[in-house]
Every structure is written in C-alpha cells, then in structure tokens.
C-alpha cells in the first residue's frame, strides 16, 4: 500500500504564511479546540524562559566540579531533572565531551531535533538545508563557515539525531579560563559551542 497523501488541504488556505497560520488559529479557536491564552503561554516559555543559558549553567558547573561532571556524563537525566532542565524534546539527553582527539558536532539531517530544555528553539541555520545536508559529509568546511578551524589531528564525530535522543556538546575549556568562577564561566559558553559549531573563545 503506497502511502502518498492525496490530501493537501493546506492549499485551500491563503498561501501567505502569516495569513495561513491566522486562518488555522481562527478555525481552531472558533471550534473551541485551542485557547489563545495557552498559545501566549507557550510563546512566553520559549521566548523568555527556556534558552541556551540553561545549557551554559550545566557546562560551567561540569568544568569546575569533577564529581558533578562524572555524574552528568554517567547519569545525565537524573542530573538534568534535578536542575529542572527536563521536558519536551529533552526526555533522553546525552552529553558528549570534546577532547584534543575528538570534536563533536550535533545535527538532525531528517528534521530539526534539538535539546529544547537546554538550548531553547533552534536557530534558523540549524534547521536550514545547507547545514542539514552538508555537515555530515563536509564538517570541516561547514565549521570554517562558523570561523572554526580544528587542529589537523583532531577527528570529528558528527551526531545525527535520528531518534529521540538529544545531544549536548561539552566543550573544552581553554587554559586561559582556568581559575574563573562558575558564574564567569556561564558567560563564556556560547550556544554554538554546545552544538559543536563553536569553540570557547580566548580570555580577554
């Protein structure tokens, strides 16, 4: 039985996406199926409450506290739940650690899977055809477009999030930052470093 969808009902709606979403929202609201106040609440959650600061706080703690890091690597979900970083698109998270030998990069070639509770909603480039198609085949060329160059003897490991496991990269902390406080370290962890398309910058 071939599964090709005959129904392309969306083409009955206005083609302008802003009007299309408005038409769907109105139809659902009018029939009592969605509550506009719930929509505002969802938007507020991802606009203001959940974002890369969550992931950065975990990374900074892992850098300064070896026991915490060991627990994070071996018992990831228990640690994240304790800090409240659990929820939709973050039910099964693994942390992968960068070393001088291996640099990790995360992608979802099939759609846009991303660890929402730790990093928020993914940026446009993460969801783009350019990133999804190329990073598994030419990761070094892709990294160069982010201004990142790795040593020749570092191997790259690209994690394609094809199931419900979500990956967070634990970046390397350059020596220049040793001795910084946890709070100072939170400020230097970029979102891209936790995806693997960035490195931790030099200390000023």
């Amino acid at each position: 039985m071939p599964h090709d969808i005959e129904n392309h009902s969306h083409s009955l709606l206005p083609s302008e996406p802003e009007l299309k979403v408005k038409a769907i929202e109105s139809a659902l609201v009018n029939q009592g199926l969605i509550d506009p106040a719930a929509l505002d609440e969802i938007i507020d959650t991802y606009q203001n409450k959940i974002g890369p600061k969550n992931g950065a706080s975990i990374i900074a703690k892992a850098w300064i506290d070896q026991d915490f890091k060991d627990e994070l690597m071996s018992n990831t979900m228990a640690v994240l739940e304790k800090y409240g970083f659990y929820g939709r698109q973050g039910e099964h998270i693994r942390v992968v650690e960068n070393t001088p030998e291996v640099h990790n990069i995360v992608v979802c070639t099939l759609c846009s899977c991303y660890p929402w509770p730790l990093l928020g909603i993914p940026p446009t480039w993460y969801k783009s055809d350019e990133y999804r198609s190329r990073v598994v085949r030419e990761p070094r060329k892709c990294l160069s477009e982010f201004g990142v160059k790795l040593p020749e003897n570092t191997n790259i490991r690209v994690w394609d999030s094809t199931a419900e496991i979500r990956y967070l990269v634990l970046p390397m902390l350059p020596d220049a930052f040793k001795g910084f406080s946890e709070q100072e370290l939170v400020g230097i962890v970029s979102r891209d470093a936790m995806i693997g398309t960035g490195l931790i910058g030099p200390a000023k």
Partner: protein, 225 residues
C-alpha cells in the same frame, strides 16, 4: 526511494549563514504563533510526534524545498487536521462556533508549563534481549519503511547498506515506522552506530572522522569482517 526531507550528504546546497547567537528566538510574530498553534493542537491527541513528522515529509518536494521552516509546519498541520478528521476542510475558510467533541481536550493556559515540562518519553521496557552488543560490527539495511511503501522511517539514506559499529545501547524505544502509521508503538532496541566517513563518502574530508546515527534494531543486521 526516500523523501525530500532526507537530505544528509546531498550536494548543491550553499553556505551556512551562522547567526552567532544574535538571532531572535522568533524572527517574526507568526513564527511564534505557528509553533504555538502546532504544539497546542498536539494536545487534541489525534496524532503523535511521528505522524506530525511524516506529515511534514509528505509535503510535495516542490513545496518542501521552497517553504520556510514554519511554513512547512503549518501546512503539514492543516493537512493533519483534515486528514485526522478534526476539521472539515471547508471549516478553515468558513469556521463556525460550535461544540466540537474534542474541545474537552483543549490545552488550557494553566496547564502549559506542566505539559511542556512533562514531555513525552519514548523509552519502553521490553522482554526481548538486545540482539547486538556495544563494539559489535553491524550493517544497515535499505532506508525504507518495511511495512508501508513510502512510509515514515528514520534511517537516513546516506547511512543505508553501510557497515558500522555499535557505540551505545539506549534500551528500547517506540518504533517510528509503525507509530507514524497507526500500527502501534512496537518498541525496539535502539543503538547509536558509528560509521567511518570513508564508509559513507567516496571522498571524505578526513578518513578518521565518524558519523554517529541512532538506529533501531530492525534497521540492522550483524556483519562479520
């Protein structure tokens, strides 16, 4: 054959446009609305995550390639709402206020934080022991749904019929190939399999690089050197 969304390894796409963390979470107001309407509609429980992914994948290639990200979401949502019988297609343009039988499932503002915070874990306990162990050599089968021609599957085409090594065993997880098509969860053991770039690509950038893919047990067969 696979579908248009399965683009890993494809040639012809241009340069990435990094935002270096500066982009707004939602670049336009309607993007935020599109995300929220899609998530809230999920609470009606007429479809699951695998069905909504498949609905996006089933957009015709010409639309998939030209639609923006959230345009794909809302177009697939409109198709799903009609396909699953939630809305009659004429109601979109001529909606009337009535008591919809699903309205009792409506997501309330007060429940949003609990619903998002609870998530929807896909791990399941099963009796069957895992067929493979960490370190074992395996080979992937063809990247096609084996129940339904053109159906949903999560093995990317670039990793089909390729030899790799089991890196991680994740326990059993809901099987998307059945779950997307009303054939039940049928949980299977899930593994991370690593592939050398030289196994996947004719001219790898660096033969020591690897790609790790999360792969359900029935996508794999044992492989001995």
């Amino acid at each position: 054959m696979t579908r248009v969304h399965d683009m890993g390894g494809r040639y012809g796409d241009g340069k990435i446009n990094p935002d270096l963390g500066k982009e707004d979470v939602f670049k336009a107001k309607w993007h935020a609305r599109a995300l929220a309407v899609t998530l809230a509609s999920g609470s009606l429980k007429k479809w699951n995550l695998d069905m909504s992914r498949h609905a996006r994948e089933c957009l015709p290639p010409k639309e998939y390639a030209t639609f923006s990200y959230y345009e794909k979401w809302i177009s697939a949502l409109a198709n799903l709402l009609v396909e699953k019988g939630v809305i009659n297609s004429d109601k979109f343009l001529n909606s009337v206020i009535n008591d919809h039988p699903l309205s009792k499932r409506k997501l309330k503002a007060a429940d949003v934080s609990e619903v998002l915070g609870k998530g929807a874990p896909t791990s399941r306990k099963i009796e069957r022991a895992p067929r493979f162990i960490v370190g074992q050599n395996v080979k992937t089968k063809r990247a096609e749904n084996s129940f339904i021609s053109g159906g949903h599957t999560r093995l990317p085409r670039y990793a089909e019929k390729s030899e790799g090594i089991i890196e991680i065993w994740h326990g059993a997880h809901v099987f998307p190939d059945t779950h997307a098509h009303n054939l039940g969860e049928q949980p299977e053991h899930l593994y991370t399999v690593s592939f050398l770039s030289s196994e996947l690509w004719q001219n790898p950038e660096n033969p020591g690089d690897t790609v790790c893919v999360d792969i359900w047990e029935s996508y794999l067969e044992p492989f001995d050197d």
